[in-house]
Symmetry: C2
Subunit: 343 residues, 2 copies
């Protein structure tokens, strides 16, 4: 399996993030991607390619144009306002407030276009976002060109980014961009299977009224687990998209047996949908030692995930999302891919 990777991700480093009650160094850090890249090499998964550069047309197919246009301006605006450190908002347009009038103030705009204090900017953040987007599209092109599968080693991740909001370390929704790109290239139906510990709230929000892109999420129950405000089992899509959004919220402490039951059910529904291609939002923060998550998967479980996805018999694009136990993130992420390939 070919991997697409860009070193530009590293410019998004040293950023701080808001957690409840404190601002701390980001859990989402450059070493995550480097450890996975090294494991791709040591496991001889296949060649590592640089991304081709794309314009932002494909991003604007799933995100609001004003949101995408905003992202490259964040750091310059933040610096122009005399600020340094990490660009983090402090007020958000929640229910009862207006989400339809973008203010003219960088602090306000950061809140206007986000749902948390986890998608912070430093100087190199936009170049990293753009490179991650290019990585996803380049890997999608490999699958479109006939590869059985490809691995988009994206960083920053994307699945928490919605049509017009960032959050949860995510800015452009790489998996959603790729799914829509496949549609625009002629695929009739596309499935997105999100196995990250956290609900892919952005992906759900983007495709919620669409029957042509099935979105399936296995994740920590949002009643207690981040991102909290989406991902309940009763969210099944809206309008023409009714029935094409599937959530499997799972309780604190879920281990392989129960997680795998959900995966099996998800894969059966995915197969019944009969998509032309599957985009896997690949997070490995389901791992038992992950510092910010609460499932109990072991390193031996990840190849089984890949093997089950392989049995779908579909062209498959793996897009890297979360996973924060840096020592094992390479073993687990690449474990899914080698499991897919049957090694």
């Amino acid at each position: 399996m070919k991997t697409v990777f860009s070193p530009l991700h590293a410019g998004h480093g040293g950023q701080m993030e808001l957690v409840a009650g404190a601002i701390v160094p980001g859990f989402e850090k450059p070493s995550r991607a480097e450890i996975i890249r090294k494991r791709v090499e040591s496991e001889k998964l296949g060649p590592i390619l640089a991304p081709e550069i794309h314009d932002l047309t494909a991003a604007k197919r799933v995100h609001a144009a004003d949101y995408i246009d905003f992202l490259p301006t964040v750091w310059p605006q933040w610096e122009a306002a005399g600020k340094s450190g990490s660009a983090i908002p402090f007020a958000w347009p929640t229910r009862g407030l207006r989400g339809d009038v973008p203010p003219r103030n960088i602090e306000a705009l950061l809140g206007f276009y986000s749902f948390d204090g986890g998608a912070s900017f430093v100087k190199g953040t936009w170049d990293a976002i753009k490179s991650s987007y290019d990585v996803a599209l380049t890997a999608a092109q490999l699958v479109k060109a006939g590869e059985r599968a490809a691995f988009a080693l994206c960083r920053p991740p994307g699945h928490h980014a919605g049509a017009a909001f960032m959050g949860g370390y995510c800015f452009i929704n790489n998996a959603a961009v790729a799914a829509q790109w496949f549609r625009d290239q002629g695929a009739t139906r596309v499935a997105v299977l999100d196995v990250d510990y956290h609900h892919g709230n952005g992906t759900q929000e983007i495709f919620y009224d669409r029957p042509d892109i099935q979105v399936i999420n296995l994740h920590g129950d949002p009643m207690t687990e981040y991102p909290f405000f989406l991902g309940h089992a009763d969210e099944r899509g809206a309008g023409a998209g009714e029935g094409f959004n599937l959530n499997y919220p799972l309780p604190f402490g879920t281990s392989w047996a129960k997680w795998n039951e959900a995966l099996e059910d998800a894969c059966q529904k995915l197969a019944a949908y009969a998509p032309d291609v599957v985009v896997v939002s690949l997070g490995v923060d389901t791992f038992e030692k992950d510092p910010i998550s609460q499932f109990k998967l072991t390193s031996a479980d990840y190849p089984k995930i890949g093997a089950r996805i392989a049995r779908l018999g579909l062209p498959s694009l793996f897009v890297m999302e979360g996973g924060y136990a840096v020592d094992e993130i390479g073993i687990n992420a690449v474990g899914v891919l080698t499991g897919f390939e049957g090694d």
Copy 2:
């Protein structure tokens, strides 16, 4: 004029707040109220009374019951989760996310019931909130009983608190509680005149569809000024409340002449509404030296505000809101009140 004041406000002290990119000691601190209290004494404004204790019935007339029930549980839940410091959220249900399902997680609930990271809790916060509410109701009772005016020296302030959200140092909307209480005591119409630098987004949100409570705000333009996501001139009320919400967004750097023009227009519209009583959300962060605001009023201007309100000839309840230049906050706040009394 009688003042109502409770020393319990001081328990809400030492709290941190989120500003863009950092967590810093709260600008909204106990010395604010103490300086005003001392000025009330030194200016011999009138007696200072302790509040009567009230149950939370009046709070639930303007706030969602689940929100009010949540507030006393915040600090105990935060401690039970093993946390210390200040309880500050990190994720919010912005547009596209669900605001209808309260999670079961204190970090998530803090976000669910707020719009920013400025309404933080420490151990004494709930008692301070409750005392501020008691102060407002007790002062309202004085006006109901026949006083021409009364001063509710509330802390924490209230005007950013909506039906089910806190934010901007505000938890229970003291002015809204008092306005509704006057209605429930037989007033046919009540006006709320908010002269704080910041838009009273909570008060507007609470009464937006109501014709029986007129809400008038003079404030920094939300395109650039906090709280950003409400307070535009085109927000005139909804449904039966259409026309009963008036916003005067004013630009950065507004000085007395322009501010006073807006006040004059506001007072004329208020007089035309002919309410039985006026509740003044009294913020003095319009002051030229306020550390977080951008208007240019001087200490000589505040008595003129009070005098203009007095000319309405209405029973008047002054409810303390913002103002952060601690040295002058007493002079300016009490200046409004002595101006009202004609001293």
